[in-house]
């Protein structure tokens, strides 16, 4: 890792003989608040940044090349690691793209199990995201509240599939195991207990003047910029674009579910600032709870997985699907050549595109704001590097 290409410019104030330099700082791969191993080379004039150049690749594990070696079925556990905070969506995405290639239909109960797992994971991921965002801004208490609720969700998901973080729950054609007996009651009890707490936790931090001053009007991303730079998910909705894959390009059983899509309204500042990105996530948690209740009411009986051959050989061709993950829409693209190993597998994640906009929006911000921006865009390193 070298600083080649990031030379320091010396600016001479005319007439005084004094020279001022920009400081080149390294917000290095090890840092308490960069949400994983990310590195920013920050050129700052004192506290105000001139440029923040991201340098990624510290977590590159060549997952896409591994897919070409392990085959369609064997790749499912690897997809968890593409985004370990919201692993169910990655599983679901890979399942969907393989099913599209081979034309497999997932049974209804399997789809409902997938959506239940997805939405729980969405709540957990958003909790972690807002918790760490408030922690980075300096308030320590909301983080503990968020983590405590997330622990309960992790316990529920562990009962479902045996793992707390990297689930490997879904298979091509459905899910691996059915819901355990008594699961619906436990989940509904948790939702009943948690739903009123969201407002209570919000009272502490969302209306807090210091917090609002830190995040409102910071790093405003307009709707055209958001679309141009391909921002997705809560980031896009916070900039005012009313688009959610679950409603506008529905997949799985979402057409049968009723929910609303929160869009940033610029309540405390401008539309598209960090506060909007934060509040959209909190509102999405409430919508996910609504979806979960409907799922548990509507889930039919039946098998949870379709019949898929052991040696899964989809016909040659390529397929592209988009799934609404916690961090935005994840685009899975798979090319098959008729064998049981994918010829090419590419995933474009929400954090990848969010990283590319940081250089543009960080001009003129202060160092403390860079932390708020990274946290509000909900960037996790494994998604960027894969």
């Amino acid at each position: 890792m070298s600083l080649a290409g990031y030379e320091i410019e010396v600016e001479r104030t005319p007439g005084t003989g004094l020279s001022t330099e920009e400081m080149t700082l390294n917000m290095g791969p090890q840092h308490p608040s960069t949400h994983g191993v990310l590195r920013f080379v920050v050129k700052a004039d004192g506290e105000v940044m001139i440029e923040a150049i991201p340098d990624v690749g510290y977590l590159h594990r060549s997952i896409e090349k591994i897919a070409e070696k392990v085959g369609y079925h064997g790749f499912m556990p690897y997809t968890d690691r593409v985004d370990y905070v919201a692993a169910m969506f990655c599983n679901h995405g890979w399942g969907m793209v393989c099913e599209k290639l081979a034309g497999i239909d997932v049974p209804k109960r399997g789809e409902y199990c997938r959506v239940i797992a997805d939405e729980f994971n969405r709540i957990a991921s958003h909790l972690l995201s807002v918790g760490t965002m408030t922690l980075d801004i300096g308030a320590t208490t909301p983080f503990f509240h968020a983590i405590r609720e997330r622990e309960k969700i992790n316990d529920l998901l562990e009962e479902l599939c045996g793992a707390r973080l990297t689930y490997n729950y879904m298979r091509i054609g459905g899910v691996a195991w059915d819901l355990p007996p008594g699961y619906a009651e436990k989940c509904l009890a948790f939702l009943d207990q948690y739903e009123p707490l969201i407002d209570e936790y919000n009272d502490l931090i969302t209306g807090n003047k210091i917090y609002v001053e830190r995040v409102a009007d910071v790093a405003v991303i307009s709707a055209e910029d958001a679309i141009n730079y391909n921002l997705v998910g809560p980031n896009l909705r916070a900039s005012g674009v009313d688009f959610d894959l679950r409603r506008d390009m529905p997949y799985s059983v979402y057409p049968e579910l009723e929910f609303e899509v929160p869009v940033g309204r610029g309540e405390e500042g401008t539309v598209g600032d960090c506060f909007d990105r934060y509040i959209v996530r909190i509102r999405e948690i409430k919508e996910s709870i609504r979806i979960l209740r409907q799922c548990f009411k509507q889930i039919p009986d039946g098998p949870v997985i379709a019949k898929v051959p052991r040696k899964f050989k989809p016909p040659a061709g390529d397929a592209h699907i988009r799934i609404e993950s916690a961090r935005g829409d994840m685009g899975w693209y798979a090319v098959s050549d008729g064998t049981e190993f994918p010829y090419r597998c590419h995933v474009r994640t929400g954090s990848f595109t969010a990283m590319s906009i940081i250089d543009k929006i960080s001009r003129g911000l202060m160092l403390a704001d860079l932390v708020a921006v990274i946290a509000s865009l909900d960037i996790v390193a494994p998604e960027v590097d894969r």
């Binding site: 400081m23 308490p32 506290e47 300096g138 308030a139 208490t141 707490l197 210091i210 202060m366 403390a368």
Partner: protein, 395 residues
């Protein structure tokens, strides 16, 4: 303390030794007792108390393994830090790097010279006590700047510069808020200021007039900012600068910096209690000097420590402000308000030279009303809260 030493000389203990030497020796001995017996222990226990108080606010438990209820945690942490390797970065300026913690500690410990623990227990009751205290706490700035610069680390440098700007800026509202008290009492000596208050709340200076009431809050806020406490803890903002100006310090030197941070909380509490809340004043229940002094010591300690707990509470609740917002708060809001405060108090003293009983009563009632409202809101939230709550801090 001076009278105590005088009585000893009169009893003939120090025959043949000049009085000044006796005074100096007495001060040194008492200072050592204060430093070793009081400061180190209070600062150390405060680290433990902070962790437990934080934990209860976060709905978790905190350290409770080492010793009964975890009481020995701070001792063990201190010993661990002392046993760590002493790392001096290769490119750092060795002399400044090594000197910085001592300068900071000096700036902190020397404030205890004027803090009155009770009517007889004070190392030196200077007649410029308040001025001395504000002057000496500024040494901390020098130490922090040295630490930030000598670490040869850009992040430490940013932390050090932020801290210097912050402490120097907030000296002004702090000083301006102390002046109304000086106007009322006409003296800068701590003991005199406390003696002019009484033990009953309505005689405290905080309720003396609306201007001192406002000055109390401004002083507390500015003192928090000077002590680098959240919401003003940018110099050591963990999530941005790793650890700010102490990033490169390890072991005993790190221990010194954090001793100063937590001990400073006590100094803030003591300052605020002495100037505004009646200090060590207790109702005259006994004539026995020793018992009286012990009562006064306990009262003063409780009052100061209460403000320590309030600082911890604020730290657990509020997020951090940004540098430009910090400066805006100081220069655009606190400084003008303190100026107006000072002038208002001066005008009030001209208009009502002997103070006003009515104002005192009104302010006391206001204070009581605010406290009652606060308790009402606490009870209201407790009734509305859904999770089960346990009240014992020991569980």
């Amino acid at each position: 303390m001076q009278s105590f030493l005088d009585s000893l000389i009169a009893q003939g203990y120090f025959a043949g030794v000049p009085t000044e030497v006796v005074y100096a020796g007495g001060m040194v001995v008492f200072g050592l007792i204060v430093v070793l017996g009081f400061i180190l222990n209070v600062a150390g226990v405060t680290t433990f108390v902070e962790r437990r108080v934080w934990a209860r606010i976060h709905s978790r438990v905190g350290p409770n393994r080492v010793g009964p209820q975890g009481i020995l945690q701070w001792l063990v942490d201190g010993i661990k830090l002392l046993m760590k390797e002493d790392i001096v970065p290769a490119e750092a300026d060795p002399r400044l790097f090594r000197l910085a913690p001592y300068v900071v500690v000096m700036g902190f410990v020397t404030t205890f010279v004027v803090i009155p623990f009770s009517s007889a227990l004070v190392i030196a009751d200077m007649n410029v006590g308040v001025l001395y205290l504000t002057a000496v706490t500024a040494l901390v700035v020098v130490g922090i700047l040295m630490a930030g610069w000598a670490s040869n680390n850009k992040w430490s440098l940013i932390g050090g510069i932020r801290s210097a700007a912050q402490i120097v800026s907030y000296e002004i509202p702090a000083g301006l808020s102390i002046f109304p008290i000086v106007l009322i009492t006409g003296t800068l000596s701590f003991q005199s200021i406390i003696q002019q208050q009484g033990w009953a709340p309505h005689t405290w200076f905080v309720f003396h007039s609306p201007f001192t009431f406002v000055a109390f809050f401004i002083l507390f806020t500015s003192a928090l900012a000077e002590g680098n406490r959240t919401p003003f803890d940018l110099p050591e903002a963990e999530s941005e600068l790793v650890a700010g100006f102490v990033t490169e310090y390890s072991g005993a030197r790190y221990l010194f910096f954090f001793l100063v941070e937590w001990g400073n909380l006590y100094v803030i509490g003591a300052l605020v209690s002495a100037l505004f809340l009646g200090g060590w004043q207790v109702p005259p229940v006994t004539d026995n000097l020793v018992v009286l002094n012990v009562l006064q010591f306990v009262t003063f300690f409780v009052k100061s420590y209460f403000w320590v707990l309030v600082s911890m509470w604020i730290r657990a609740t509020l997020p951090r402000v940004r540098v430009d917002q910090l400066m805006t708060t100081c220069w655009k809001y606190l400084v003008p308000i303190s100026f107006i405060n000072l002038i208002g108090q001066a005008a009030l003293m001209v208009a009502l030279p002997h103070g006003s009983r009515l104002l005192q009563a009104a302010m006391t009632l206001l204070g009581a009303a605010i406290l009652a409202y606060f308790f009402y809101r606490v009870v209201f939230h407790l009734r509305r809260a859904r999770p089960e709550l346990t009240f014992s801090p020991l569980s």
